[in-house]
Subunit: 303 residues, 4 copies
Amino acid sequence: MLPQNRWFIEYFGSTEAHMHGIKEYLLSKQTQFQRVDLVETFGYGCCLFLDGKIQSSEKDEFIYHEALVHPPLLLIPKPRKVMIIGGAEGATLREVLKHKTIEKAVMVDIDEELVNFCKKFLPEWAKSSFDDPRSEVIYTDARKYLEETEESFDSIIIDLTEPMAGSPAVKLYTKEFYQIVYQHLTPQGTISLQAGTTRPGDTTLLMMIAKTIETSFPIVRIYEVIIPSFDLPWGMILGSKANDPKNLFCQEIDRLLKEREIQDLLYYDGETHQAIFSLPKFLREAQKKPSRLIEDAHPLTIN
Amino acid sequence: MLPQNRWFIEYFGSTEAHMHGIKEYLLSKQTQFQRVDLVETFGYGCCLFLDGKIQSSEKDEFIYHEALVHPPLLLIPKPRKVMIIGGAEGATLREVLKHKTIEKAVMVDIDEELVNFCKKFLPEWAKSSFDDPRSEVIYTDARKYLEETEESFDSIIIDLTEPMAGSPAVKLYTKEFYQIVYQHLTPQGTISLQAGTTRPGDTTLLMMIAKTIETSFPIVRIYEVIIPSFDLPWGMILGSKANDPKNLFCQEIDRLLKEREIQDLLYYDGETHQAIFSLPKFLREAQKKPSRLIEDAHPLTIN
Amino acid sequence: MLPQNRWFIEYFGSTEAHMHGIKEYLLSKQTQFQRVDLVETFGYGCCLFLDGKIQSSEKDEFIYHEALVHPPLLLIPKPRKVMIIGGAEGATLREVLKHKTIEKAVMVDIDEELVNFCKKFLPEWAKSSFDDPRSEVIYTDARKYLEETEESFDSIIIDLTEPMAGSPAVKLYTKEFYQIVYQHLTPQGTISLQAGTTRPGDTTLLMMIAKTIETSFPIVRIYEVIIPSFDLPWGMILGSKANDPKNLFCQEIDRLLKEREIQDLLYYDGETHQAIFSLPKFLREAQKKPSRLIEDAHPLTIN
Amino acid sequence: MLPQNRWFIEYFGSTEAHMHGIKEYLLSKQTQFQRVDLVETFGYGCCLFLDGKIQSSEKDEFIYHEALVHPPLLLIPKPRKVMIIGGAEGATLREVLKHKTIEKAVMVDIDEELVNFCKKFLPEWAKSSFDDPRSEVIYTDARKYLEETEESFDSIIIDLTEPMAGSPAVKLYTKEFYQIVYQHLTPQGTISLQAGTTRPGDTTLLMMIAKTIETSFPIVRIYEVIIPSFDLPWGMILGSKANDPKNLFCQEIDRLLKEREIQDLLYYDGETHQAIFSLPKFLREAQKKPSRLIEDAHPLTIN
């Protein structure tokens, strides 16, 4: 039996690629900001690709979104207001709203068309989150929004694509941007974001972002999350004004999840927290090396 | 710029595949037992493929081999004799010999031709291990060897391909085989092996192997290791007669590594141990479900 | 710049394949009879694939359909009634109707759903042919239709997929079938069909079909047509009761086309006729070798 | 059964590609002038690729080389001296030497390393041609050679890669170059060359080259040759000072081949000649359109 005829090939540079056999094509559109492909694959169910790069898959989006949201929110005793930057699928919003302390979740995504595609084709990802009275969705540039608002948030969850050349995400990875973010956080405020692969030898991007965040935040922790559809192991970063996620222990996390009545997680709990914040030795060594800072005048872009 | 012309495509079933751009072809041969491809890729350096499946890569073989070897050896107070089943690259042997307590390491691989290819093309992997006076390499069927020998080992490291249909590995995954292994271990004896992906929804193989090992070993722990060249997160299993790796804490591991004068590890240490033995929630849930046993009369084979 | 992410890969056995970059996915459906993929490619415009094999493309369907239709119709002084077997796209019908002598064109295709897809997605191929009062479309098995009808035709154009294992096309390639066809032709009647690649060394299929047709028809001519989207050069066969296409010369063809008021051909005319019926030497040599016959009891199937 | 793991992918722009399953890797080297890949494929036997583009394959090189050589040589009553530009595989030389009138064949190829690879890995292609006392091989730039020599040739066979950007072939496709070539031909002299695809809609390159040759040669004929490994139908061009290949008829060609004692051709003879010089209608139409000229100051390069 020959393999599938229909493939979506995600290229990692010009020398590595992953081929996904396609079950059904849902959508392929160029929005004002990016190319959107919604594809049902055999291996990962529905997948969202932006500019050819996988963003999340039906099979393992729970790993990405739980890991992105719960660590920064559990570090705060009683998170009330959360901002989400990006997060078009609505799944980050879904996880945020699981914390019953949340009173307001503001999601700022630049690409309204993309959000509407996700609502239509991936309704299971946001579930009812977009209709939750605590949710507010604003379609604008997140940096501009922050520069103009006087709101403060307990946590700002940054759920962006990588800073591909020409993308509006580029200026959301700079020292200046993280300073603006810092200024809009409450005293125990936290941030989290995805920040590139942790593959040995290829962590330059991750380390640059971490160092850049350290110019604003006193506590910065890399954690490693395995989202199989990403093909590569992935780094996330948590920045915090006051509390260290390495001091949040198993039992405390399980107690907090219970207290906030979060029962339906599939990936994250105390033991998972311990696993993901314990980095393999080579990553800890890589962290010790100097990295350049990302600045508005010297931004970071990838191809 | 167009991508590479030369690719090695590893298929995962008929609906997913990973493409590796080829820098140089080193070898492609059918031995008596399997197809061997040695390829220098752009992304992962030299790679060994058996029957089209990646076994290890220059870039991250250290992760695989350190994770396979050190947990079972550190569980034993003073490991003297170790058997390796498979392990053609010599890198498992290399890691075993790092423990200065080791007096004898017997490697049993069925495929002499493959071992010779690895010696020739991947000399950096075994380093000088094959010449170490403590090493003995025997080219025969490992099950036959164990059935006939009266030797006992402190640890038996099983470094095999997956049980592909028709492969001699098939009968090295059964209940009966693990019983034979058990009988050749000293009272605190341990085993370890790689046992398939931990991707959510696809852990049937891993769970069947773990359950099967439980019929012989009182302590069986799955641990999760990320070897990027494998494309998928991977499960390893540690079986133990007496000691539980979950009770081996960070500081104790770092102390033991120091005591045994193991200084050059890149991946494994106390914190890494803690990370890999702390499983994500969905894997712990999957472990609770019933699995069938693998028996000589009902073996497991994959395509 | 990296290449496309979205590809349709047509496999030729397990060792050759052609990759088409996809611009837009139009349809992918399993009908009762076959898998239908309608894809807009960058290289060939809209393409129809059945069971993963290309049938025709926007860019070069004119070559296929003009070559299939005009030689058999020009061999007959005044063709009135033509039957088309298969031909779902409607383009064979379109070419047939260009002959102003035609009074009736009966198209028999087993797959109504496929014909409807073609009408919807490839309207430019049939143009107004399906609405032409001379056209009749019957959805049934062509062999059954011929066995039951008492109609005679001046030409029967066989526009089928290759006889893939399990396909209803299999019994439309046998000696017995061609006998039935023969019996439904008028005294100067002709047939034409596509019959596999002419690639050197790979003409077994083509030669078997030609030999099988020779059991019914006194005049059988292979002609070679280059349809670039087929990736390989292709053989067509013309069977004739009375007239030999090798005796139809340039000027006569051009005169006949004029007489029948056929002005809009892009591919076929007298000079093209001469080119396609003049075979390269190796094909003429291959024709001299013995071939087995295809019979109902020993049909031909390909994978 | 899954397909091959090892592929050579030839890209045609960024939206079409052909995948060749690899049986054995023979060589992959960057010479001073180009990337050379010698690969044994399952579908086409040994193949030579230069800069990722197929040049010739074991299975069908006879088509390419017979078509390139015999038409220009048969147009000349008694060809004595022939120059070959490029032609590293030695197969063009092989075909030239079949004409028993030949007294001297000078092959000028810029890439000595490539010629040596071909001698070593493709010995069946040149057969004994390089050792023939009538052969002379000169490793230099062909244009420079012609500018400096006072020799005249009866035919100059141009067997080059396409004018890829940066390639030394670029200045061997210009008006000025063809003038130099013209000046080195005897009064009935001829040239031939391959000149890009004849795919409908994609013949700009072919037509530009033909128009450029017309600035020097009174008779210029495009002919179409199907070399399946090229994936696309291909155009060759014959330029002639005095005789027109369209006036060379079947029987005359067969008589000449006999007279010159050329008996072992597999592809070319009178009927093949008639086929390849009879172009499909769309190509004849495309020839009527204006094309720009290729000049040293405005060369042609492809990607």
